[in-house]
C-alpha cells in the first residue's frame, strides 16, 4: 500500500501511546485510542488536553481522538490504515494482542510496535505471512510530539513499500527524523545512549566529582545534551536505568562492552527505592525545595554519601571550555571526565555501528534527535580528531575498533567534497550521506556555495530554482539596521523578477526565526537619547517591510521557533508563510511598553478586516486591539491559524528539515502571473471611539488585570488602530497607519516606564508589570 494513513488505531494509552495518538491527531489523522483498562484512554486524552504545554496543538485537535477499550472496541481497528501497538513491554502480551488483531485488521493495514527493547523477530513469531509483510517496529521517543527521532525497524519479511510508507509518513506528516535501525537490542539510540549514561554516572562517581560538575562538563562544552547526564536522568526517570540494564543483561551478548562495563549504581538504586525517580516523582539528583522563608532553592544529591546538599555551580575550568576539543585537551578533572567517558562511548559506537545501523550518519542522527546531543558520536570523534580517540583507546590497553582504524586512515568520519557531505562507508570508501527527497537545509546550501552578500546581521543566498534567500544571522536573529538594509538589497536584486531571481524567501536555521528588534541596542539608543536614530530605524524597517510587501516578485517567510514583535511583523508582510508546526509567534511589543512600529499594527488590522464588512471596521479594530494590547502569542502554527496570525494561504510543515524545500516550492508556485498586491484602503472609526476603548481598558485596570502603565500603552495603541484623527466617512491609507505607528512608538519610547520594561525584559526575560 502506498496511501498515507489517515485513520490510525493506537493500542495502549500509557504515556507513549497517548502521546503518539495526540501527535497523530496533530498531523490530521483520525485516531482510535484503546486501552485494556476501562476509562484509561479517555482519561489519558483529558490529561493531555489539560497539560501545559499540551501535546495537542489546539483544543479542537483532541476531538480527532476517540477513546475505547480493547475488550469492547477492538473491532474498530478494521477501519484503520495503521495500527500502532504501544502496550506494556511484555512479549506474551504483545503476541496475544497481535493474534487478536490478525483477523480484524484490513488486509492492507500496517501494524507496528512501539517497543523499545524487544526484537521484531520475536514479536512476529507465529503470525501469518501477510501480517509479517505489514509489520514493523516504529519506536517513538518521549514526548512523541516534540522528540524528533523515530526509529524504524523492518524485519526480513516486512514489505519494502510498508517500510517506505511508514518512513515517508513519519517524516513528512509526523515531522520525524526517521532512522532505519537493524533489529538489535535497544536499536540505535538507547543502545548507545544508555551506555553513555551508565558510563557517565560511573566515571563521575569514580573521579569523586559532583552532579553539577558532570552536568556542566557534558552540558555546555560537549552538548550531550544541554541538561547534562544527571539532569537528563531526572527528566527521563531514574528507574529507567536499572530496567534497561536488566533488559540488556538478558539480550546483549556477554562480551558486549555494555555488559563488561556496567556496574550496579547503589546511589541511584537507593534514590529509586526511596521514590526519588526524577521529575515525575519527588525529584531525583536535583530537588527544588522551599527554604523556611519560602524562597525556592535547588538541592543536589552528594554522590558519595547520598545526602542532599544545596546545589552549587561547578567550578571546574572544563565547564567553561569552548567546545569538546578544548574540553578534552584540558588538564583539569573536567577534561579527565570527558576523556574517560568519551573514550568508552566512542569506542562502543565504533564497535557496534555496523551491527545496529546502515551507516554512521544513522547513528549520529539517532543520538542528536533521540538524546538531544549537539553532535552524534562520530561527529564528536571528528571534532576531537579520530587519531586522538584511537590513541586514548590504545593507551587504555584496549583494541582499537576496526571502524575507527579505518577512520584514522581516512582522516575523519565525514568530509565535504564537491559541496556535499560524505561519510566513511563500511568498505572504507566515501559515500554521500543520503536523505529523503525534500529534506534540505540552508547548511547544505552553505556547503556548496557562498553568500551573495552579507553584513553583520544578515546574508543573501542563491537558494536555487530562481529563489533568493534572506538569512538573518545575528544572535537570536534580533533585527537591526543591517537586517533592514539587507532586505532592501534583496528587493533590489530580485528587481522585476526578470533577472536570475523570481522569488524571495526569508529563511534561517536559527533556533528562532527572530525574536524581534534588538532590544539591547534599543535600550542603548534610549540611554543615549538617540531619538533620531530610533526614528531612522523605524522608518528603515517600515520601508524594508513595504519593499517586501510590494516587491514585483512573491515573498515567502519561513518560520521556526519564535517569531516575535518585529520578527512576526516581517512575516505579516509576506505573500505566504511556511511555518513549522512548533513555531510560536505574536506581536509582543506592549509587553515592553511599545506598540508594533514596523507595520505590525497596520498589517494585523488589515488582515482582520479582510473579508469583513468594510463599513463596520470595529470588529477588526477590537480584535487587533485585544491581541496586540495583550501581547498575545500563538503557541504553535495551528494556534496561529486559529488566531488569524496565519491564513489559509500559509503552509504548516511538520518536519523542520523540509521547510526550505516547501518554501521554495510555495514561492515558485506564486510566480506565474504574480502581481504585487494593491495597497489597501480602510475606513476606520477615528477618535470618537477612543473614550469607549479607554473605558474598557480602565475597567481592566480597576479589576487588577492591567496596570496603570498598560493603560497608557493601550491608549497609544488605540489611537493607531482607530486611525488617528480620521472619521468613518474618510479613507485611511496604509501609509497613514504607519505614520501613526511611528508617532505612538516614538512617544512611548521616551517614557521612563517603557525603559524600565525593556531593562527588566533584558535582565530577566520576563515582562515587567509596572
Amino acid at each position: 500500500m502506498a496511501i498515507a494513513p489517515s485513520r490510525v488505531a493506537v493500542i495502549g494509552a500509557g504515556v507513549m501511546g497517548a502521546g503518539i495518538a495526540a501527535h497523530l491527531a496533530n498531523a490530521g489523522c483520525t485516531v482510535l485510542l484503546l486501552d485494556a483498562l476501562p476509562d484509561a484512554a479517555a482519561s489519558a486524552i483529558a490529561r493531555l488536553s489539560a497539560a501545559r504545554p499540551s501535546p495537542f496543538v489546539t483544543k479542537a485537535v483532541a476531538g480527532r481522538v476517540t477513546s475505547g477499550t480493547v475488550a469492547a472496541d477492538l473491532a474498530g481497528v478494521a477501519d484503520c490504515d495503521w495500527i500502532i501497538e504501544a502496550i506494556v513491554e511484555d512479549l506474551a502480551a504483545k503476541r496475544a494482542l497481535y493474534a487478536q488483531l490478525e483477523p480484524l485488521r484490513r488486509p492492507d493495514a500496517i501494524v507496528s510496535s512501539n517497543t523499545s527493547t524487544i526484537p521484531l523477530a520475536h514479536l512476529v513469531e507465529g503470525r501469518s505471512a501477510a501480517f509479517r509483510r505489514h509489520f514493523a517496529v516504529t519506536h517513538f521517543f518521549n514526548p512523541p510530539r516534540w522528540m524528533r527521532l523515530l526509529e524504524l525497524v523492518a524485519g526480513p519479511d516486512t514489505a519494502p513499500e510498508v517500510a517506505d510508507t511508514l518512513a515517508a509518513f513519519g517524516d513528512v506528516r509526523l515531522g520525524k527524523g526517521v532512522v532505519r535501525c537493524h533489529d538489535t537490542p535497544g536499536f540505535i539510540a538507547n543502545r548507545v545512549g544508555t551506555f553513555w549514561m551508565q558510563v557517565a554516572v560511573q566515571e563521575t562517581i569514580t573521579l569523586g566529582l559532583t552532579v553539577e560538575d558532570a552536568d556542566a562538563v557534558f552540558g555546555k562544552p560537549m552538548g550531550v545534551p544541554a541538561t547534562g547526564v544527571f539532569g537528563l536522568l531526572d527528566l527521563v526517570g531514574l528507574d529507567l536505568m536499572p530496567r534497561v540494564a536488566a533488559s540488556f543483561a538478558r539480550t546483549l551478548p556477554a562480551d558486549d562492552r555494555y555488559r563488561r562495563t556496567a556496574q550496579p549504581l547503589p546511589v541511584l538504586e537507593r534514590l529509586v527505592a526511596d521514590g526519588f525517580t526524577g521529575r515525575k516523582g519527588k525529584g531525583g539528583f536535583y530537588r527544588v525545595t522551599r527554604r523556611p522563608d519560602g524562597a525556592r532553592q535547588t538541592e543536589a544529591v552528594d554522590l558519595a554519601t547520598g545526602a542532599v546538599r544545596p546545589s552549587a555551580p561547578s567550578t571546574l575550568p572544563g565547564a567553561k571550555a569552548r567546545g569538546v576539543a578544548a574540553l578534552v585537551a584540558g588538564r583539569d578533572a573536567g577534561g579527565e571526565l570527558a576523556r574517560r567517558v568519551l573514550r568508552q562511548v566512542l569506542a562502543y559506537a565504533f564497535e557496534v555501528a555496523d551491527e545496529i545501523a546502515d551507516d554512521l550518519a544513522s547513528v549520529d542522527t539517532a543520538m542528536r534527535l533521540g538524546f538531544n546531543w549537539a553532535k552524534g558520536p562520530f561527529e564528536l570523534a571528528d571534532a576531537i580528531g579520530v587519531a586522538t580517540v584511537a590513541e586514548w583507546i590504545r593507551d587504555a590497553g584496549e583494541p582499537v575498533p576496526s571502524r575507527l582504524e579505518a577512520a584514522v586512515r581516512a582522516g575523519s568520519c565525514y568530509r565535504t567534497a564537491g559541496g556535499r557531505r560524505e561519510q566513511l562507508g563500511r568498505d572504507g570508501t566515501w559515500q554521500a550521506v543520503s536523505r529523503p527527497g525534500g529534506v534540505e537545509t540552508l547548511g547544505d546550501v552553505a556547503l556548496a556555495s557562498r553568500p551573495l552578500e552579507k553584513n553583520g546581521s544578515a546574508a543573501l543566498w542563491d537558494l536555487g530554482g530562481g529563489v533568493l534567500g534572506v538569512e538573518f544571522t545575528a544572535k537570536m536573529n534580533a533585527l537591526d539596521g543591517d537586517v533592514m538594509a539587507m532586505l532592501h538589497r534583496a528587493a533590489a536584486r530580485a528587481g522585476r523578477g526578470d533577472g536570475p531571481f523570481k522569488a524571495i524567501v526569508l529563511h534561517n536555521e536559527g533556533k528562532h526565526f527572530s525574536v524581534g528588534a534588538n532590544l539591547g541596542l534599543l535600550l542603548y539608543a534610549i540611554n543615549l537619547a538617540a531619538w533620531r536614530d530610533i526614528e531612522k530605524l523605524m522608518i528603515a524597517g517600515q520601508q524594508a517591510y513595504a519593499a517586501l510587501r510590494y516587491a514585483p516578485v512573491p515573498v515567502v517567510g519561513v518560520v521556526q521557533g519564535l517569531a516575535l514583535g518585529g520578527g512576526f511583523e516581517a512575516l505579516l508582510h509576506c505573500d505566504a508563510v511556511v511555518a513549522h508546526l512548533e513555531a510560536s509567534m505574536g506581536l509582543v511589543e506592549t509587553g515592553v511598553g511599545l506598540v508594533p512600529g514596523w507595520g505590525g499594527c497596520a498589517r494585523m488590522l488589515i488582515r482582520h478586516a479582510e473579508g469583513g464588512d468594510p463599513a463596520d471596521p470595529m470588529p477588526a479594530v477590537i480584535r487587533t486591539m485585544e491581541q496586540v494590547g495583550r501581547a498575545e502569542t500563538a503557541a504553535n502554527a495551528a494556534d496561529a491559524r486559529d488566531k488569524g496570525f496565519l491564513t489559509a494561504r500559509d503552509v504548516i510543515v511538520m518536519n523542520p528539515d523540509r521547510l526550505l524545500d516547501e518554501a521554495r516550492r510555495t514561492a515558485l508556485a506564486l510566480v506565474p502571473g504574480y502581481r504585487p498586491p494593491r495597497p489597501p484602503v480602510l475606513r476606520l472609526p477615528g477618535a470618537a471611539v477612543l473614550p469607549a476603548i479607554e473605558a474598557g481598558v480602565q475597567g481592566l485596570v480597576a479589576a487588577g488585570q492591567a496596570t496603570a502603565y498598560d493603560a497608557v500603552v493601550a491608549a497609544a495603541l488605540a489611537r493607531v488602530l482607530t486611525g488617528g484623527d480620521t472619521t468613518p466617512d474618510r479613507t485611511v491609507r496604509e501609509a497613514d497607519l504607519l505614520a501613526l505607528e511611528r508617532e505612538a512608538f516614538l512617544r512611548l519610547v521616551r517614557e521612563p516606564r517603557t525603559r524600565e520594561r525593556i531593562e527588566h525584559m533584558l535582565a530577566t526575560g520576563q515582562p515587567l508589570r509596572n
Binding site: G456, L521, L523, Y524, N527, L528, A529, D533, E759, A763
Partner: protein, 596 residues
C-alpha cells in the same frame, strides 16, 4: 620668570553662577557652605598657592629631590611650604570632621587641586598621595587603624603613599609578588620590592604611612588575590609618636623627565610589619577608591599646568614686539606690534583659554556630583551621581591630560625660542605635564576603561546620566539666541551618539573593534562634555548680559565668544575622529607583528 594668578573670577563664575553654590548648601552636612564662606576659602587657597607654592616651582625642578643612604631630601623651601600648607588646613580640607577634617565640599578640593597643580605639581604630589591613603583607610580600615592613623593624615602631620607597582607588574597588578605573611598577632610581615612609589620617602613629615598591595599565602591567582596592607615607616608608639623603624627602605630615586621635586622611590619591604586594610584578597576594591579619586586628580594636573602655561603665554604675547599685524601696524608708535595681533598666535591662546575654562567647569561639575554621592539624601540621586562620575572619570583623566599636554606645548610655542630656554619656565610645564598622560592608568587604559567597562555597564545606564541631560540641554537651547551654539554642539553630540552605538554594536562581536576605536572615542567624549559645559556657561553669560552686566560685561562677552570658539573651532575635531572610528580596526590589526 613666569607668574601665576589664581583665576578667581572664573572660578567664582563657575561655582556661583553656572553650577550654583546653593546646590552644595542644600546638601545635608554642607549647611554652612555659604557663598561668602566659599569666597573666603578660595582667597586663602589662592594666597598660599600664589605666594608659597609657585615661587618654589622652578627651584624644585632645578634641585629636585635627592637620595643618599636611603634618606630623601626635598628641595630647599619645601619643608617650610608644607608646614604653611598644613597650617592652612588644606590636607584635611574635605576630610571627615570626626578625624579633624574641615568637612568642606569635594568641589572645593577640586579647586584646591587645580591651584596646587598650576603652581607646583611636584609639591602637590605629597598631600595628594596622603589624601588617597586617607580615602582608602577611611572607607575600609578597621576602627583601630583609623584611630591610629587618620587624624595624622588629615592634619598632614604624617604623609601617605600608594605602593602598587612592582618591576614586572604595572598595569597588570594581578601578577604582583610582594608577600604578606601572618605574624601571629593579627599583623602581617610584608616582603617585596615596589617601584615608582611617589613620595615613598622624604623629609617633610616624621612618619610615612604606606598602603601596600601584596598577596597573602592563600591568595587565589590574579587580581582576585590581592590584599591591601598598611605599613608605616615607623611603628607608632602608644601615644602616637613615630617609634621603632619598620622594615621598609628607600633603595633609589628615579631620574625623571619632569616633576623632579617629587621623589619617585624604589622601596624595599623586608619583613615589614603591616596590617590588613579591608578584607583579605579584596585589596583592589580599596585600591580603586584611591585610584578613582587619583584619576580625577591627575586630570586636574593637565588642567592646572595648562592654566599657568596659558597665563604666561598670554602675557608674553602682549609684551613681545615683533613684526607687524597682517592688516597693517596696530601700534605704529612702537618699533613692532605685540605678537598677539597675529591670528596664529591667537589661535593658540584661544585653544588654551577655551580648554582651560571649559575643562574647569566640567571638573567642578564632577566635583559637585561627588558631593552629591557623599551627602544627598535620595539614594536614586546618589546613584545617578555615582554613575555619572564613574562614566566621566576616564574622560577627565585622559582628555584633560592629553589636551593639557598639548596646551602646555602651545604655551611654549608662543614664546618662540625663549620657550625652549629653561629660565622662562615654559618647558618645565611641558615636561611636568607629560607624566599625567601615563600614571594612574595610561590614557590608553582609560580609553579601554571607558569603552570596555563604562559603556556596557548596567546596559547603558551610566551613559544615560550624561546623554539624556545633554540632549535636553541642546534641545532647550535649539531655539533662541544660542541656537547656533546648540546646533554646533548637537552635531558633535550626534557623532558621540553614533560612535557609541557603533562601538557597542561592533564591539559586541569583536572586542578588538572596540579597542581600536577607544582613544578616538574618548577624545570625542571629552570634546562634547566640555562643549556641553560651554553651552551652559554661554547661557549664564548671555542672561547676565541681557540683565545688564555692568563692569563685568567684558568678562561675559568673552565667555560667549570663547564658547563659540570651542563649538566651531575645536569641537569639529569630533567629525574627523568619528571618521577614523567608522573606518574600523581592520588596518590596525591586519599586520602580523613581524610585518611592522
Amino acid at each position: 620668570m613666569p607668574a601665576y594668578r589664581a583665576p578667581l573670577d572664573d572660578i567664582r563664575f563657575v561655582l556661583h553662577d553656572v553650577l550654583g553654590t546653593e546646590q552644595l548648601r542644600a546638601l545635608p552636612g554642607y549647611e554652612e557652605v555659604t557663598p561668602d564662606l566659599v569666597d573666603t576659602v578660595l582667597d586663602g587657597m589662592a594666597q598660599v598657592c600664589e605666594e608659597v607654592l609657585f615661587p618654589l616651582n622652578q627651584v624644585g625642578d632645578q634641585v629636585g629631590s635627592t637620595v643618599a643612604d636611603g634618606v630623601v631630601t626635598t628641595p630647599p623651601g619645601f619643608k617650610e611650604a608644607y608646614a604653611t600648607f598644613c597650617e592652612a588646613g588644606f590636607p584635611g580640607l574635605s576630610c571627615d570632621p570626626a578625624y579633624g577634617g574641615q568637612g568642606l565640599p569635594l568641589t572645593l578640593r577640586a579647586v584646591l587641586d587645580e591651584m596646587v597643580c598650576s603652581t607646583n605639581l611636584s609639591f602637590g604630589m605629597f598631600p595628594g598621595l596622603t589624601y588617597g591613603a586617607y580615602e582608602a583607610l577611611h572607607a575600609y580600615g578597621s576602627d583601630e587603624l583609623k584611630d591610629a592613623y587618620l587624624a595624622k593624615l588629615v592634619s598632614g602631620e604624617w604623609a601617605g603613599t600608594m605602593c602598587l607597582t612592582e618591576p614586572h607588574a604595572g598595569t597588570d597588578l594581578g601578577i604582583i609578588t610582594t608577600k604578606a605573611v601572618p605574624a601571629g598577632d593579627g599583623a602581617y610581615h610584608v616582603t617585596g620590592s615596589k617601584i615608582f612609589i611617589t613620595a615613598g620617602e622624604h623629609d617633610l613629615t616624621p612618619n610615612i604611612v604606606h598602603l601596600v598591595l601584596a598577596k597573602l599565602p592563600d591568595a587565589p591567582p590574579g587580581t582576585k588575590g590581592i590584599s591591601l596592607l598598611l605599613v608605616p615607616k615607623y611603628l607608632p608608639t602608644e601615644d602616637g609618636r613615630p617609634g621603632t623603624r619598620n622594615g621598609v627602605t628607600c633603595v633609589g630615586v628615579e631620574h625623571k623627565m619632569g616633576i623632579k621635586a617629587s621623589p619617585t622611590c624604589q622601596l624595599q619591604f623586608d619583613n615589614a610589619k603591616g596590617w590588613l586594610v579591608g578584607e583579605p584578597h579584596k585589596g583592589l576594591r580599596a585600591m580603586f577608591i584611591m585610584m578613582n579619586g587619583a584619576r580625577l586628580n591627575v586630570g586636574m594636573q593637565g588642567l592646572g599646568l595648562s592654566v599657568t602655561s596659558y597665563q604666561n603665554a598670554l602675557q608674553y604675547a602682549k609684551d613681545r614686539l615683533q613684526m607687524r599685524a597682517l592688516k597693517g601696524a596696530a601700534r605704529p608708535d612702537q618699533p613692532a606690534d605685540p605678537i598677539i595681533v597675529h591670528p596664529d598666535v591667537r589661535r593658540g591662546l584661544m585653544t588654551m583659554k577655551s580648554f582651560n575654562e571649559g575643562a574647569r567647569a566640567l571638573a567642578y561639575h564632577v566635583g559637585m556630583e561627588m558631593d552629591v554621592i557623599l551627602h544627598h539624601p535620595d539614594p536614586a540621586r546618589r546613584q545617578e551621581a555615582e554613575d555619572l562620575v564613574a562614566l566621566l572619570t576616564p574622560v577627565v583623566k585622559a582628555f584633560f591630560t592629553d589636551v593639557g599636554f598639548e596646551s602646555a606645548n602651545i604655551g611654549l610655542q608662543t614664546y618662540g625660542g625663549h620657550g625652549y630656554i629653561r629660565e622662562y619656565g615654559m618647558e618645565q610645564y611641558v615636561r611636568d605635564s607629560r607624566i599625567a598622560q601615563i600614571y594612574e592608568g595610561t590614557n590608553g587604559v582609560q580609553a579601554m576603561d571607558l569603552v570596555g567597562r563604562k559603556l556596557p555597564a548596567e546596559m547603558g545606564r551610566l551613559l544615560r546620566r550624561f546623554f539624556q541631560p545633554t540632549h535636553e540641554l541642546i534641545e532647550r537651547e535649539s531655539q533662541g539666541d544660542l541656537k547656533d551654539l546648540a546646533e554646533a554642539l548637537g552635531q558633535g553630540f550626534r557623532r558621540l551618539q553614533q560612535g557609541t552605538q557603533l562601538i557597542l554594536a561592533k564591539g559586541m562581536r569583536d572586542p578588538n573593534e572596540a579597542g581600536a576605536a577607544a582613544s578616538e572615542y574618548l577624545r570625542i567624549f571629552g570634546l562634547v562634555a566640555v562643549g556641553a559645559m560651554w553651552l551652559r556657561m554661554a547661557r549664564v553669560a548671555q542672561d547676565k548680559l541681557a540683565a545688564g552686566a555692568g563692569p563685568k560685561e567684558a568678562f561675559y562677552r568673552s565667555k560667549v565668544v570663547t564658547a563659540k570658539f570651542w563649538m566651531t573651532r575645536i569641537l569639529p575635531q569630533a567629525h574627523g575622529l568619528m571618521a577614523s572610528i567608522a573606518a574600523g580596526g581592520e588596518t590596525i590589526m591586519a599586520l602580523e607583528p613581524d610585518a611592522f
